[in-house]
Point group: D2
Chain length 387, copies 4
């Protein structure tokens, strides 16, 4: 058994299939994919990677299995899924998700191909595990899949605490021990036992505070948008295959962006934190519905229209419109007076958090500093904003 | 200058009037008044006292003054008020507030007498400070008083973090540095600068999570109610003066309770954690209005009625009815788009927290374990609850 | 199973015999015996008690048993011993050890009587445990006793970390996880496995840094000496039995000292931190051998001689002479190249720590501030110091 | 003023020359140079970079200047030097120091050229700072240079704590507040004030524990040696200029190693943690003097001889011989009884630490796993080891 020192969980004991998965190239690659991608431009100490996060998720999955009396190969499948749950991430994690989905039609949680083949597949099979079953767990399917990917998964129990520890913010601090201890299966669904409405709320509150201060910080969003646009151009203008793109590390991507003339400027700006600025920063009720609900292609068209109206090269205007606010965790199952209920039914606090999401939602129009006024005017006219 | 090591703020530098106040008997007494009174029965490591908390509040007050460019004797008055803000607390802090208010007509924030006389008064005067002005600050009066006692005071910035550190819960973690840095005076009122709605929310969220898990834990409430009833009996049945009672330490009170035959049983139960249990635990909408809004005297009458109906000695039934939920912090002032607004106007999350308070509110009827059924029946009949 | 939140170990799961012992009066008394007695006069946030420390030691004992494959009633005996290891402590812990030993001829680790009788004895027997065997474990006897009281015991693994957490100093931080994982039995002796010389050293280093900054801080030593002298007088001049004295809590002792005319001054001084000061502070090589090696009775005689020479009441001079430096942990057993060795044989660092102890050793002569010069002169003449 | 959130110091306020230096390319490059290079292969969460470390050193330098009453442009020079102290580091920090010194004859503390030219030079000059004077501070020259680079510098006060926080080990925890507060200048030398021998010792102890568990972990040393050899080959076999090499980031270096046929194997091994293993691991007294004291060139010759004797390609044998143990911090100046003394004169603990260094010293001979026995035999014969 190997014991790995971790900044969050102290020692993580790795054994069985996990010990063999550790040394695969697909897993070691996660050392080079940062957990918080562009957030480090705002919180310089947030340089932790999906490698140690995945170890942490594996650790919590083991504790959960032990608590829930899941053992043998069922536990091994959950532990393998926990360890591998992020191998489907492209470089810069969530920032390239959209690109990869549009090019490959595949979500980062769909890792059936990655883990069925090569080294990872061989390791899983050598431990008698069905690769499809493990991939299903990662995708949140089935009773046990909920532990790995669901409203109450060990993924978020790790990242909230880890992201806080490394960024230095005092939020994200949840009571992992209590949450794990409160997990139960009722009719095949993962729920929190009686008396844990507040434990469930604390998870959502931690998430909401981390969203507001860390995950959705506007500087990180601007950098992320610049990165995503640059990735699109890179794939459009070079012979790079989307599959190869999806398997890059953060730095391989940055190097590729630097080497491609069409993206060299974006790469340099990201490298020295010389980012675009906000020409507009729109609240939900200021933003026309056709913009909020636009498809990716429609947004790119609008972007080009704004650039044209401002008489600028299209690459100089970025439109950043998140989807309508949603909060899947609000449907967490909790036992209240003996019945399984959805958290949002029980918790006015969760309803408040949902309403707060609407208030905090922002769409942005970004451009280089000298063009901010021109782009703001063009966006106002083109998008039909109130002047 | 003296530097005192602290578990929360690392080093606290004490100088000027504060250094002289440190050695007064009134201040040293706070070493023997625990910050969280009966909470230690649930969270055994929560043994910190109002002494180190007061040092922490003083430390934050100094930082706030420096940030707000308050200096000279105005700063000294704020610092003295911060250091002394808890000297008005009786033994077991908030648990004896009601007793003291009813007997002496004085709230713990009213310390005009305590600090005008004796050693403390002499020290303040020797530093050219007006004792009434310092007492006014402690009472939250005036522009500078808001720093010491108000919705944005340094008191709660210290205790949320300190109570979490010593109890071991992961909540209560606020961003003191950001909050202090965001303080401003606008038209004489203390406000948070533009861009800090979420900072303000995080303070309320921390408070709400600490309420739910620590401050209002039912075991602590039961012990606190037992203690309060015992204090009333002690004052009724002995020659102890209320003023002397109010100046006791935690352990002097416990010793007095042990020595008085009418309270010896309660003292023994508190000493060995052999507490009453919940016969009823009522939600707000289950509790008749005449109970929720009853005065202290009316509640004592109801308590006696329940005991009589259960054929028990009155001391064996405790009725614990908190006031209707309120959340003064929700009126925190924040600058939004250049205007000073109240937080609850801006924040749907705060509205959610307020609604959650209603849901979490509980009234309790407590009794020794063997009598629980009898007391539950008697309470149902006497208080007019739904059976 | 009960899970108790702890500031050091997060959740401590209490079950079996430990759950029943928790509610005994002998164990609940530890809530009122502070872990660091007079140290809180220097480090105000160090108010933690032997209650939560004992829970922590129990927690580490469980982890050690699991790691060492000790189970069944053998494990229960170790766990009970870990939980109860401090019930023999008098008020103010180590500060009254000497008094109790001299009056009762019993060391605090000798708890055969306490746990054989009353509630504790009944609980142990009801779980099929032999009370003498448990008491032997507490005394460090036998193979399993080494876990509870020995060079590698879980007692110090808890207190080093806990004392640091609550006092706020950055020392005392040992790697509990690694130490527990490295425990082995070789020929019936508890040792650290191959490759752990540095783990063992880190334990001694942590202890040495805590000694220097916390445990042996001169202010705490002065207060402790004042307390010990006051206890002797209290027992001499009142009808208090030594057995009753030994079972007091910290605050019962303080109250008794306040009530006794002969000790009221000491009690008041301790209460307001108005302590004696150092008239002399002597290094080991400045202190005559007959003083370093004096018995308690001889020291008291010397003390009286110094007071007489200074023309002062004997109670105004305190002589504080620790024993010659020793470091039992230096004989910790470690496996090196396959052989069990004693740490001091392997570690030049430990030899350095031992030498440092000699350098840091101090004897003190204490007196009230106005008499410092007179006492210094008298001590120089009486003790035969170099002027 | 900008306030940057940091995982160690909470908020770091950046202003004046530092704010302008922040955005220079030379400084932003440090985001891509990890603080602990190959250590992350052992401690996966240790991914922090020299960027945030440099901010931390700047922060401590400001605090030290304020404490020492250094202000105006003298303080600005110290703060600039603190911020820039690591811009001379090549990729992978200390692991490429030797390569750069041999190729460019320049130590990483010699940054006169780097900061005299380009953006950094222009920023310094625009704030009226002499670039040579700032470079001298970084090199430890002069009274103020000791703060930036010396036995008591703020560099080590930051990294010990930061490296511990991010790797997760409980060592490295020093009392920054006390150390800063104890700094004094006596006759132009930076010293620790009276009463701080133990503070000074704690710094050395922290360093020694971090050396043993983190900085000199054998896995990190193996990876570092592989990297250094690969860098030599890269420079030998490609047209890469040493100056360009020295300005690479970690990932640019890894990419270059992957692209060069002569180093592709090493790059792949480092990428997947498939490292050489220890064929020999020699204590100081097992290692012949001519090996311990060999020059770099002599060691390379010996390495080739061992490979030849084992009939292997020279790149398959690595000889890793650290210099003789030294401990510059042991000459830290401390005031003892009014005189400035060197720590090692006063502290037997430091003498123990020095002796422990000799005991912990190891030389390694590394090779791919299949060749370990052959290489061990060849090394024994070739280096003249005892079989």
């Amino acid at each position: 058994m190997r014991a790995i020192k971790d900044s969050v969980h102290d020692y993580i004991e790795v054994e069985g299939v996990a010990a063999d998965l550790l040394d695969t190239e697909a897993f070691q690659r996660l050392r080079h994919v940062k957990q918080l991608s562009t957030v480090r431009l705002v919180y310089p100490s947030a340089n932790h990677t999906r490698f140690e996060h995945s170890l942490g998720v594996y650790h919590l999955a083991r504790r959960a299995c032990r608590h829930l009396d899941i053992d043998g190969s069922r536990a091994e499948a959950v532990e393998a899924a926990a360890l591998l749950h992020d191998v489907g991430h492209g470089p810069y994690g969530h920032q390239t998700e959209g690109v990869i989905e549009r090019r490959l039609g595949r979500h980062h949680d769909d890792v059936h191909d990655i883990i069925a083949t090569g080294e990872v597949g061989r390791v899983l099979e050598s431990h008698g595990l069905d690769t499809d079953a493990v991939a299903d767990r990662i995708d949140g399917q089935g009773r046990l899949g909920q532990l790995v990917s669901g409203e109450l998964d060990v993924d978020r129990m790790d990242y909230l605490v880890r992201d806080a520890h490394h960024s230095g913010v005092p939020y994200g601090t949840i009571d992992q021990g209590r949450l794990l201890r409160a997990l139960r299966y009722v009719d095949g669904d993962l729920v929190l036992a009686e008396g844990n409405v507040q434990s469930a709320e604390s998870l959502l509150v931690a998430r909401a505070l981390m969203n507001a201060t860390v995950y959705r910080h506007h500087v990180s969003r601007i950098a992320g948008t610049m990165l995503e646009r640059a990735c699109e151009r890179l794939l459009d203008e070079t012979s790079l295959h989307a599959e190869d793109f999806a398997r890059m590390t953060d730095d391989e991507l940055l190097a590729a962006l630097r080497d491609c003339p069409a993206t060299a400027d974006a790469a340099a700006r990201l490298g020295t934190r010389d980012l675009y600025k906000r020409a507009c920063w729109l609240e939900l009720d200021e933003t026309p519905d056709h913009v909020v609900d636009a498809t990716h292609a429609e947004l790119r068209d609008l972007e080009r229209d704004v650039a044209a109206a401002a008489d600028l090269h299209p690459a100089l205007v970025h439109l950043d419109v998140p989807g309508r606010p949603s909060m899947p965790e609000s449907s967490t199952r909790v036992v209240v007076d003996g019945d399984v209920r959805r958290l949002h039914e029980e918790s006015p606090l969760v309803q408040g958090l949902q309403a707060a999401q609407d208030v905090q939602w922002r769409a942005g129009v970004y451009a280089p500093e000298p063009h901010l006024d021109a782009v703001a005017d063009a966006a106002t006219a083109t998008l039909g904003l109130d002047a």
